[in-house]
Amino acid sequence: MPTAKTRTRTQPRKPAPRKPAVWKLRLYVAGQTPKSIRAFANLKVLCEERLKGRYQIEVIDLLEHPHMARGDQIVAVPTLEIKLPQSVQRIIGDLSNTDRVLVGLALQQVG
């Protein structure tokens, strides 16, 4: 996967992420920690800005579903997984670095 941040727009894989009518995002957290609250807030703001009306956020509290940590190979929290458009990319941390989140979501061209 290319790591260059600003040039990805011109890459052939670019058109695909555009298509989905709805973005499905899953945020893994471990309880209501400041970090997880922060991450959710950051994500919410970003989605409102960029994907208004066409996104879904699912929050998974691993404390309640510990088996999912194993099943989904979660090590670090918070972890944001992009279910649709399907991507292997994972975004970890409290999502405070918006640029990097956009890179992770392959949406950075707009910024």
Binding site: M1, Y28, A30, G31, T33, K35, R38, A39, N42, L62, L63, P66, H67, A69, R70, Q73, I74, V75, A76, V77, P78, T79, L80, V88, Q89, R90, I91, I92, G93, D94, L95, S96, N97, T98, R100, V101, V103, G104
Partner: protein
């Protein structure tokens, strides 16, 4: 497994320990790893860290009722299961029985975008969940440092790993953390050893002179004494075995029981009772002196007593030994079939001396023999230095003594070498030293044997000749000639001479007896003759006496008549006497 009962319970009262069940390790650590605390196991690639962790969990689950969790950061679960199978562990079964939980932590840095502060709660939750599922008491993290390669921000990672260790400690989980050691001056690549202050074990896999040796060292064990040497260890189909070099010490018991050597007259040379049980016997000699034969006698005798024997044939194949011994009338095969005798043939060149020692240990531990034969120990010198062989034998002898196993070590002396000097290095370890040699005299070689030393018992100081017959080994009578013990033809001729001399003496004796008889007869004959002569003389004398008396009487009568007729002076005649006159008549 067999070693487990020997693993000493914690020596320290303050520090609880968890037995690892790894053969030998619990001896070195005086009872295992610190219970409820993390232990760092560090080593280079292929040093055996994963195997170490796996065995720790498997033994815990199967032997000590402590289920375990294995968190693998590198190998996948199918790979792990396959590798464990090579140690004889069935992970699948343990997982099914809920005694073991395996989790593979797979993350790839290419798929990770770090966007801010994170923690490892995901991992914590996974571990906690796994621990809860099987009720684990033990955890292995193999190799947690892999996270440094996959997750950004080492600062966070270090803090999180530290938190993880604290958490594990809090949970009272006995944990092994493995770490890659890529530089000799550092224990771990990312310095996580500073979080593990209780116990650090270093594994090492080195190759010297084309022979690979694995070694283990307890670098640190807070609050506990531990062996500090480098201990060789082995990974084979029964797991890991570590060999304590010197922890056994010299506190073994010394049984007073004596056991036969299997050769009556050899017993006779040792106070009539043979070896002490549990003693170590060195039997050295040049090739073809009959070392194996003596050993075979001993083995045969032990099997007859119903004891188990373990025979390490280092130069001959077991079949060869059995066949050869049959030629001197010892059939070992029935004992093999009965399971009393076990042969192990291995050339030391195959795995190096430490491996030989470890294998020896393992076989002894699993077979539990009361007699062990190592034939010969000198081959070990081919793969190692004298020092190493000596150190290995010291350990082996110590080990055998603690088990009260009687052991015979044969040693091949180079022809022409000084018999007694060559083995001087190992001989001090041995309780009894039998020397077998050939005596070359009068154009022939004959076998002889003597007891060079035998601690704690009277023993013969004679050199004894022996022959190998169809009916076993036979010690012959001693013949001392002017130049020492006589053997072979010289002995036979001496035997002959002694026989001849004996006959001569017997004849002489008989002759003297006869002479005495003869003399007695002569004497008696003479006596008879003398008596006869005497009787004859006596008769003559008696006769003459009575004649004289008669004559006197007649004379007197005649004279009276004459006096009367002549009327002569009678008194004068009476004075003159009678004889001449009588004769005249």
């Amino acid at each position: 497994m067999t070693q487990q009962k020997k693993a000493r319970r914690p020596s320290s009262k303050t520090l609880p320990k968890a037995l690892t069940g790894i053969q030998g390790l619990d001896e070195i650590t005086g009872g295992g790893l610190p219970s409820g605390r993390p232990t760092l196991v560090s080593g280079g690639a292929g040093a055996g860290k994963t195997m170490f962790g796996l065995e720790f969990l498997v033994r815990g689950a199967t032997q000590y009722g402590e289920p375990g969790v294995f968190m693998s950061f590198e190998e996948t679960i199918p790979d792990l299961t396959k590798n464990a199978a090579s140690l004889g562990f069935d992970l699948g079964r343990l997982v099914a029985e809920k005694k073991l939980f395996l989790d593979h932590v797979a993350i790839s840095r290419h798929e990770i975008e770090e966007t801010g502060e994170y923690d490892l709660d995901g991992l914590f939750i996974r571990i906690a969940d796994a621990v809860k599922r099987v009720g684990a008491r033990r955890v292995v993290l193999d190799t947690i440092e892999a996270l440094f390669g996959e997750l950004p921000n080492p600062g966070i990672l270090r803090a999180e790993i530290r938190r993880l260790f604290d958490w594990l400690k809090q949970q009272g989980l006995t944990t092994i953390i493995t770490a890659e050691r890529d530089r000799p001056d550092k224990l771990t690549r990312h310095g996580i050893e500073e979080f593990v202050s209780d116990c650090v074990i270093v594994l090492d896999h080195r190759i010297r002179e084309e022979i690979s040796t694995r070694r283990l060292r307890v670098v640190k064990y807070r609050g506990s004494t531990h062996g500090t040497n480098e201990y060789p260890f082995l990974i084979d189909e029964h797991g890991i075995s570590v060999l304590p070099i010197s922890s056994l010490g010299l506190d073994h018991t010394a049984p007073a029981e004596r056991i036969s050597t299997g050769i009556d007259r050899l017993d006779g040379m040792m106070g009539g009772k043979g070896f002490y049980r549990g003693s170590s016997i060195l039997m050295s000699g040049t090739s073809g002196t009959g070392k194996t034969s003596v050993a075979a006698h001993f083995v045969d005798a032990a099997c007859r007593r119903g004891e188990r024997c373990l025979y390490f044939a280092i130069e001959e194949s077991p079949r060869q030994v059995v066949r050869n011994m049959r030629s001197i009338g010892i059939d070992l095969e029935p004992w093999v079939r009965k399971g009393l005798l076990q042969f192990h043939a291995a050339r030391p060149t195959y795995g190096g001396i430490e491996e030989v020692l470890l294998l020896t240990h393992k076989h002894i531990s699993s077979f539990q023999p009361s007699v062990v034969v190592v034939d010969p120990i000198t081959t070990l010198l081919m793969v190692s230095t004298l020092n190493e062989v000596r150190s290995m034998l010291t350990r082996l002898v110590d080990f055998l003594k603690t088990q009260e196993i009687t052991a015979i070590f044969t040693s091949l002396t180079a022809a022409g070498g000084d018999l007694e000097a060559n083995e001087a290095d190992v001989s001090s370890l041995m309780d009894t030293w039998l020397l077998l040699k050939t005596i070359e005299v009068g154009g022939e070689r004959n076998r002889a044997l003597y007891v060079l030393k035998s601690r704690g018992m009277e023993h013969s100081n004679q050199i004894r000749e022996f022959v190998l017959t169809n009916d076993g080994l036979r010690l012959l009578d001693v013949y001392l000639g002017p130049e020492g013990v006589l053997t072979g033809a010289a002995r036979m001729s001496q035997e002959g001479r002694e026989k001849a001399a004996g006959t001569f003496r017997r004849q002489q004796l008989e002759g003297r007896g006869r002479e005495l008889d003869r003399k007695r007869q002569i004497f008696e004959a003479r006596m008879t003759m003398l008596r006869a002569e005497f009787e004859v003389e006596e008769e003559i004398i008696q006769q003459s006496i009575s004649e004289s008396k008669l004559l006197d009487a007649e004379l007197l009568q005649d004279r009276g008549q004459m006096v009367r007729s002549r009327e002569a002076d009678t008194s004068a005649y009476k004075k003159v006497g009678s004889a001449p006159a009588a004769r005249k008549r």
